[in-house]
């Protein structure tokens, strides 16, 4: 079917439809909405997207989002380098930060173990975590992988690996099984942090 839209509108709709939760219909609605706005608004959006594409790289220390070498948390000297909270993805960091309970630093694994999907320990940033533990004299590892089967197995794997060297805790339950941290509310997560249990 030939398109009734111009090639550039077509391209915009196609790109928007690639976003999670956006179907072809919503993509079209969003595109038309952008076209109706005063031109500085969509320009600001385009600039913001261009800026993150340009400047955001993984933090060289924790693998969260950074502009330059270090992310804001790793660059903040008031944060305790001897306590590391391990998460699957950077999105979980935002959730935990909102609780204002955690004063240590983070480590982003880049996923969770799932051999059926080809994710073995070697595919996660575990060697890098080991190096940080040695270098920074880490005393506690707070494991905040998602409460899914994969997240639990990853937590267990990490705990077994470092248990003889330092204290390992797991975010307390109270988080629904199968949920991910991204969608947990602040209060629940705050409680989960304060009630973390040793494993």
């Amino acid at each position: 079917m030939a398109s009734i839209l111009t090639p550039s509108v077509d391209a915009l709709v196609t790109e928007l439809a690639r976003l999670p939760g956006i179907g072809p219909r919503s993509a079209q609605r969003l595109a038309f909405h952008l076209l109706r706005m005063p031109s500085e608004r969509p320009q600001a959006l385009a600039d913001a997207i261009a800026a993150v594409v340009d400047r955001i790289t993984p933090c060289t220390q924790c693998f969260s989002f950074a502009e330059g070498d270090l992310c804001p948390v790793c660059a903040d000297t008031r944060r305790d380098p001897t306590v590391i909270c391990v998460v699957e993805e950077p999105s979980a960091i935002m959730s935990i930060e909102r609780t204002h309970e955690f004063r240590g630093r983070y480590h982003v694994l880049g996923g969770a173990l799932s051999p059926i999907d080809g994710v073995d320990p070697e595919d996660l940033r575990i060697v890098e975590l080991d190096q940080r533990i040695e270098r920074d004299g880490v005393t506690e590892l707070v494991i905040a992988t998602n409460p899914t089967m994969s997240g639990e197995a990853t937590a267990l794997f990490l705990a077994d690996r470092v248990r003889d060297r330092l204290k390992v805790t797991r975010l307390a339950s109270g988080l629904p099984v199968g949920a991910d941290l991204e969608h947990a509310d602040e209060l629940t997560l705050g409680r989960a942090y304060l009630g973390r249990r040793e494993i």
Binding site: D120, P121, A153, D160
Partner: protein
């Protein structure tokens, strides 16, 4: 007794050969009588769809849609231990299932399905006796899913942990990762596995007696035996409370060998059910040495025992016996009809007018089915 399940009105649209049909089902025995291909089994299939949300004949629901139609729909008035409900299921390949209870949309199939409301015997069910262990496990698991809360979730969790551990074993064998990668999947495997085994043992304990009784009542002879054959067999003597530890130990002890095999060689995923009979000094294994008739009687005894089991827990299910009567000699047929008709609701299909009459003699209502027509 936890009550009884009874279907009263069944409304079928575009299921197999049926374009549109409404039938009022009486309580008690019902015989759907008519020639092959008349659509008897399709009515049964529609009933099962409206109770459980899945077809009893195919895993691809699209096959149940009438040729030329784009979607099927079944409405059912079903009375269970919690009262009467109007149930609706629509299915179209593009949009999937649309489920409602009393006109209210229900999103999850698990929340919608009337678990344990219907027990179906199709001719291929014979596999539950003479088929591979997987067929017997499936039979047992279906019963437990309906009778034990949380069992279905445990089965799914066990299956995922098993696939993950097997994939990890393959990775280790291929040298992609170390043996440590296998370990984190084992605690979940041991805890869900222990719960699955415990539930299966409980079921066996309560099924063994009714199985023996039904085998005798259906003309299969005395001293029927059934029991769990656990994998590994050494688990047979382990008390329920020690199962998690025993499974953990087994996984650890077998790890090296299982890396070589790249799979988990024993566990509840390899359980089997023994079905046999004490004869003289020996035990006959009906799974292997039974005649066709003996095996059929054993399956029916198993089914009736399942029905008793569910009856005491989630309510006596509707019993559906599709095309069973003509396979039995008159004596056994009479025994089955005596057992099935008159206790709760029972729907039988048959091509055999003599069998239909035998059911009618016991008080069953006969509905004759002819190419898209149904008559009382």
């Amino acid at each position: 007794m936890a009550g009884t399940w009874t279907a009263s009105r069944l409304e079928v649209s575009d299921v197999r050969s049926w374009s549109r049909l409404t039938v009022d089902l009486p309580p008690g025995g019902i015989v759907l009588s008519g020639p092959n291909g008349a659509g008897k089994t399709s009515l049964v299939e529609a009933l099962v769809l409206a109770c459980l949300g899945v077809s009893c004949r195919t895993s691809r629901e699209a096959e149940a849609i009438r040729v030329g139609a784009s979607a099927l729909h079944v409405g059912l008035e079903l009375t269970g231990p919690d009262g009467a409900r109007r149930r609706d299921i629509g299915y179209a390949p593009r949009t999937g299932r649309k489920l409602s209870i009393d006109g209210e949309l229900v999103r999850s199939l698990g929340a919608w399905r009337a678990a344990g409301s219907v027990l179906v015997f199709l001719p291929e069910e014979l596999r539950a006796v003479k088929g591979p262990p997987a067929a017997r496990r499936r039979h047992l698991d279906r019963l437990l899913e309906a009778a034990v809360p949380g069992y279905a979730d445990d089965l799914v969790a066990y299956g995922s942990a098993l696939s993950q551990r097997n994939a990890a074993l393959r990775s280790v064998r291929a040298g992609r990762t170390g043996v440590d990668a296998v370990l984190p999947w084992e605690p979940g495997l041991a805890s869900t596995g222990a719960r699955i085994i415990t539930a299966r043992r409980d079921a066996m304990r309560s099924l063994a007696e009714p199985f023996a009784r039904w085998l005798a009542d259906l003309g299969g002879g005395a001293d029927g035996i059934m029991g769990l054959e656990p994998s590994p067999t050494s688990l047979a003597d382990v008390p329920d409370t020690d199962l998690p530890a025993a499974l953990t130990e087994r996984l650890e002890a077998a790890r090296d060998r299982e890396i070589g095999a790249a799979q988990t060689l024993a566990g509840p995923h390899r359980d089997d059910v023994f079905i046999g009979q004490q004869r003289g000094d020996g035990v006959t294994d009906l799974r292997r040495t039974g005649s066709q008739g003996e095996q059929r009687t054993a399956v029916l005894a198993l089914l009736m025992a399942h029905r008793d089991h569910l009856g005491a827990r989630s309510g006596l299910p509707i019993l559906v016996l599709d095309d069973v009567l003509s396979e039995l000699d008159p004596t056994r047929r009479g025994l089955l009809l005596d057992a099935a008709v008159g206790q709760g609701q029972c729907i039988l299909t048959t091509v055999d007018p003599v069998a239909a009459q035998a059911a009618a003699d016991r008080g069953a209502r006969v509905l004759s089915v002819r190419e898209g027509l149904l008559a009382a």
